[in-house]
Each structure stands twice: as C-alpha cells, then as structure tokens.
C-alpha cells in the first residue's frame, strides 16, 4: 500500500467522512445558534444577537420546578444504579460461576430493548403493584435503563483488578477495612464516579420512560416537550436545550476520562515486563 493513502489526502473517503460528521452534528449546532437569535422563530438569516432567552430561564417557575425534579431523579437514579452496578460488576469480574455470561447479558439487555416497550411494561408493573405514579416511579424506570451503562463503565474499571493486590495489602499487615480504604477504593473510585456521571446524564436527558412513569411532576425533557406547543416559548426551549447539551457533553467527557484512568490503573499489569 502507498504510504500516502494513510492520510486521507482528499478523495472520496474524506468527503464521505466530512458529510458523515456534518449529518451527525449539524442539527445540534442549530440549537445554540438559534438560542442567541433575537427573532423568536428559528429562521435564517439571523436577525441579531441576544442572551435574553437565557436571562428569562431562571424567571420561569415551572422550569425551575422541572430542573429541581430532574436533579432529584438524576441523583437518586445514578446512586441507585451505581450501587447495584458495583455489586453486579464485582461479581461478574471477580468470580467464575455457571450462568455468569447469561446474567451479564440479561443485565445489559435494556440497552437494546425498545424504550417505549420498556416504559409501557414498567407502567403496567407499577400499576399492578399499586404504586401511584410519581418521581419515585421515574427513578425506578431510570435505574433500569442506567444499569447497563453503569455496568459497562464499572466492569471496564474492575476488569483485571489483580486479586493479589488485596492479598498483598493483608500480607503487609493491613486489616480488611484498611485494605478496602487504602487499595480497593482508590483503585476503583474513578470508575465509580464515572458511572455516577454517566447515569446522571442519561437520567437527565431521558424522556420516554419519564413521560410514561411520572405523575404530575415534570422532569426537564417533559417540560421541554410541553413547551413545544407554544411557538412563542421556542427560544426559551432552545436556550434550555443548549444548556442541557453543554452539561451532558461536559459530564460525559469527565466520565470518560475517569473511566480510562480507572481502566489504566487496574490493567497496567502485563505489557511492561522486560
């Protein structure tokens, strides 16, 4: 092969790659652009630059309520699914038992199930259990969809955790609790924080399950959906959407950095033998 071809020097492949990226991100770029436009209708050409829509956001009580609800749901769902994920990931990575792979598959399944089906099924179950719809039922639903993400992050952090590290700590005189505090926790902390951030982000953005399982209390995506009926509210929605977008992007980036750090910590054995 010619060395030149490795650098995509023009040609069809780079055109394709460019169009691909544009297709993925162009719609997303429109959001922040129109959110600082003075005209309330999202149309080109832009009429002027303003931050008015952003300034209006904190003055909307319904929005603040929805944000507060999303915060509660996001924190509860991320903590719950991370705790459950830690237990499952530890078991999957540390022990060998029959059905281990099947169990792992079942835990990961909600990732590929149609969300609307999951939402309807959960709704049926909640009603059967006699639970009235509230933020609590939304949290339960979000835990279900968050656990696969939590598992992915945590297993990559726990995988290859050399059991002899804990033995070495005990061998050097440390108690079981001391070993957990001085070895286990520092090693897996980045993965745990990463899992919390990923789950929080997913819960924050999740619409379908929240829509089916919430009672009268709206989360942010539900609030946004409700506002779309009023053309005059659109700029506010765009501003809010932009903020959510930035928040998600930041949280996911931090989460990925932490996940990689965790994976590096546990998997640095091997490779360096010389």
């Amino acid at each position: 092969m010619r060395a030149r071809s490795r650098f995509l020097p023009g040609g069809w492949l780079s055109v394709y790659a460019f169009l691909y990226i544009v297709f993925l991100y162009l719609p997303v770029i429109f959001l922040p652009i129109f959110s600082i436009n003075t005209a309330p209708t999202p149309k080109f050409p832009l009429t002027g630059y303003t931050l008015q829509w952003y300034e209006d956001l904190p003055r909307t009580p319904a929005l603040l309520d929805a944000a507060w609800n999303s915060l509660i749901v996001g924190i509860s769902a991320s903590v719950l699914s991370t705790v459950l994920g830690i237990l499952a990931a530890r078991s999957i990575t540390r022990y060998r038992y029959p059905g281990r792979r099947a169990i792992n598959g079942l835990i990961m399944a909600p990732l590929v199930l149609p969300e609307v089906i999951v939402a309807i099924s959960m709704l049926l179950v909640m009603l059967q259990l006699g639970l009235s719809l509230s933020l609590f039922t939304v949290v339960l639903g979000h835990v279900l969809v968050c656990i696969p993400y939590s598992m992915t992050v945590l297993t990559s952090g726990f995988e290859g955790f050399d059991r002899s590290l804990e033995e070495a700590s005990a061998d050097l005189g440390e108690s079981a609790f001391g070993t957990f505090r001085r070895v286990t926790l520092p090693m897996v902390a980045p993965a745990i924080i990463s899992s919390l951030l990923v789950c929080f982000t997913i819960s924050l953005d999740e619409f379908i399950i929240a829509f089916f399982l919430t009672g009268t209390e709206a989360t942010l995506p539900i609030y946004i959906w409700g506002q779309l009926r009023f053309a005059s509210k659109l700029p506010g929605v765009l501003a809010l959407g932009t903020l959510l977008l930035v928040a998600s992007f930041l949280l996911m980036t931090i989460a990925e950095i932490l996940r990689r750090r965790a994976a590096r910590r546990t998997q640095n054995e091997g490779g360096l033998y010389a």
């Binding site: 070495a168 700590s169 061998d171 910590r265 360096l272 033998y273």
Partner: protein, 377 residues
C-alpha cells in the same frame, strides 16, 4: 562485592542454624475429593534458603499460601518461629510475600509502595524514611522512589515487591515464582542477587518454583513435590545426585534409566546386575525400599564421558552413536548400547570435538560407578 560461587553448598561464610523456623505437621488441604496437599510434613530451618519445587498442581503454591495465611489446612498444623499459626490471619503473621504478579499498588509510587506496611507501625517520619531508603538500597533501586509503578520494567517491579516485603523485617520471606515473568538473562542475574540478598539479611526465604535450575542454584535445601505429596527433602546436590525415585530424577534434568536385578542387599550397599553395565555395587539410598527383585539404576548424561582413541578406563561401556544434537557449549549424543532397551543420552563438552563425532561411529564411554544411583522400582 566479589562474585560468589553459584553451586558451592553449604556456604562456609554463614553456618546454618539447626533451629526450626517453620514446622509443617501432617498438613492436608482438600477441595472436596481432591487433595491439593496430602499429609505433608516439613521443617524449614532458621536463616535457610528453602525451595518448594515441583510441576504445576503439585501443591507447592497451596503450601506457601497456607504459610502466608491466605489459605488454611483442612487438617494438620503450621507453626512459624515456634508459634502456632492456627486462627492467625495473614495480616498478623510474621511472614511477608513476594507475589508472582508482584502486586505493586499501581496508584502509589515506589516509595509509597515500600512504606505501605510501615504505615501501620506508626513510625516517626524520619525513621520510616530511613527504613524505606535502606530497603530500596538493598534491592539497588536508590533514586527511583518517586517513580510510578507503571513506569517500571518487570525486573524493577520485582525489586519493589522485594523491598516492600523486606522493609517489614519478617521472620520469613515467601516468594511465589518471583522470577517466572522475567526473561532468561534477567532471571539468571536475579537468581544470584536473590541469593546474595538472602545471605546479607539472614532471613529465612521460602521459594516456590517449577524451575529445577533455579531451585538448584539458589537453595540450601529443596523439597520436591508431586501430586500434593513431598517426595524428597535434601540439599540441591543430594537431590540431583541421589534422587529417591524416577519421578524426582526425571524432574531434575536428564537421567538415563537402566533396569537392574538385585543380587545382594545389606545395610549400606546394594549389588545389582544390569545388561549394559554388568554387575555394579552402589550405595544404598536412605529412602530405598525394596519392591521385589528389581530396581532401577540411573546415571546423569554428563557423568558418561567419551573415551578418545586408545584411552581406557576402569569402567566403560561400548556402543554406537545413533543421533547427535549440537547445543553450542555441549553436544548431546544418543548412544545405543547392546543389551540396553533404551539408548543412553550422553552430554559431552565440545572442547575435544564431540560435535564432530559422525553418527554411526562406534565409541566407548567411561563412567564412575559412584555416579550410578539405585532407585526402587
């Protein structure tokens, strides 16, 4: 430090203590019906470099882990320094371990790794620093204290693992295949260094290995294990020259086996008839237990020497070279002897031209009857 002889035992510079350090009494470890360790008894002396040698699955690692406190005997007892280890968890035992994977804490730097166990002792800051530096100097890692574990080579990691254990000043240092991840050259260098280190610190070392050369080169005494049982405990020289059975003989390098009929047996010696070597009188091994009228004689390939031209020896056998394999410093000859069911392996150094002996040549081999070892069938 001048080079020390590698194989000379015992070491005249530090007389061996006869005081027991580790006593293993009738220890069995069962996993269901499988016995990883089967009624093993062993005494390891104070200040000794002791090796547990055997193929994988022979129970050597299980025994080491029970001394460390990571596993418990199903029955039997283990004591260290005269104190029973029953019910004492790993973190309160006077032993420290160098793990096969080294188990260096990746989130800590070299100094913090070495100081890990000292933190519990609540030493003064200066005293802790002094001990860490002393331990790093012992393993020639001075100046690398601030490095992260991820920035170290395999050999350096192993030194950190050693320093981290030695800094605790244990009564016993346990080493679980510490050299198996290193390449050949580094491994041989570390064998010498480990031996020197052990002599310098005077701590009892217990090494688990499946590499017979490693065990022979480093140990004061070796226990050879098979299938959960201890087959022989002796000095490297005795293990190599006087193996108790064919299994031990085979595991410790090449050995020619020759069928023999027992003609006469008394307290110290044994007279046997063989087809290739005729009638031979040999020392009777301590562990020899007669099993019918037969026995096996063994002779190491390097104890057979090629007789050149018209040279003669008091004891010789004649045969024909059927194969020749060149290994650089030595040549390996396969020699067929009339009457023997299996041809003999002979290793000959190349200084006299053994590498030029054509296949098919008739040659004579000299041997010393002392080199023939009798083993029960």
């Amino acid at each position: 430090m001048p080079d020390q002889p590698r194989i000379e035992r015992p070491h005249p510079e530090r007389p061996q203590s006869e005081k027991p350090m580790i006593e293993i009494r009738d220890v069995t470890r069962s996993y269901g019906a499988f016995k990883a360790l089967d009624d093993a008894s062993l005494t390891i002396r104070e200040g000794e470099f002791f090796s547990l040698l055997g193929p994988s699955g022979c129970g050597k690692t299980t025994l080491l882990r029970m001394i460390a406190g990571f596993d418990n005997p199903t029955s039997g007892s283990i004591s260290v320094g005269g104190q029973s280890m029953e019910g004492i968890p790993a973190n309160r035992r006077p032993t420290n371990m160098v793990f096969q994977s080294y188990a260096i804490f990746p989130h800590l730097n070299v100094e913090q790794n070495v100081a890990y166990g000292l933190k519990r002792l609540k030493l003064q800051g200066a005293e802790e620093k002094r001990r860490v530096e002393e331990a790093l100097a012992q393993v020639s890692l001075n100046g690398l204290g601030k490095r992260r574990a991820t920035e170290l080579s395999g050999g350096q990691r192993q030194r950190v693992a050693l320093a981290r254990a030695l800094v605790m000043r244990p009564k016993v240092l346990l080493l679980d295949e510490p050299l198996s991840a290193l390449d050949k050259k580094l491994r041989e260098q570390m064998q010498v260094e480990l031996r020197r280190l052990q002599q310098a610190v005077g701590i009892t070392f217990v090494l688990v290995t499946h590499d017979q050369y490693e065990a022979l080169a480093m140990s004061d005494r070796i226990a050879v294990m098979f299938g959960g049982r201890i087959a022989q405990v002796a000095s490297p020289k005795e293990i190599y020259q006087r193996p108790v059975n064919r299994q031990v003989a085979d595991f410790l390098g090449g050995m020619n086996f020759v069928k023999a009929e027992i003609v006469e047996e008394n307290g110290a010696s044994l007279v046997v008839d063989t087809l290739g070597f005729g009638r031979v009188r040999t020392d009777k091994p301590k562990a020899f237990v007669r099993n019918g009228g037969g026995a096996t004689l063994g002779i190491r390939p390097e104890r057979l020497r090629v007789l050149w031209d018209n040279a003669t020896a008091k004891f010789e056998v004649a045969g024909k070279v059927v194969e020749r394999h060149y290994f650089g410093e030595i040549t390996h000859l396969i020699v067929e002897i009339p009457g023997l069911e299996k041809p003999l392996s002979v290793t000959e150094t190349n200084d006299f031209g053994a590498d030029d002996i054509p296949v098919g040549t008739s040659i004579r081999l000299a041997y010393d009857p002392e080199a023939l070892v009798a083993m029960a069938d």
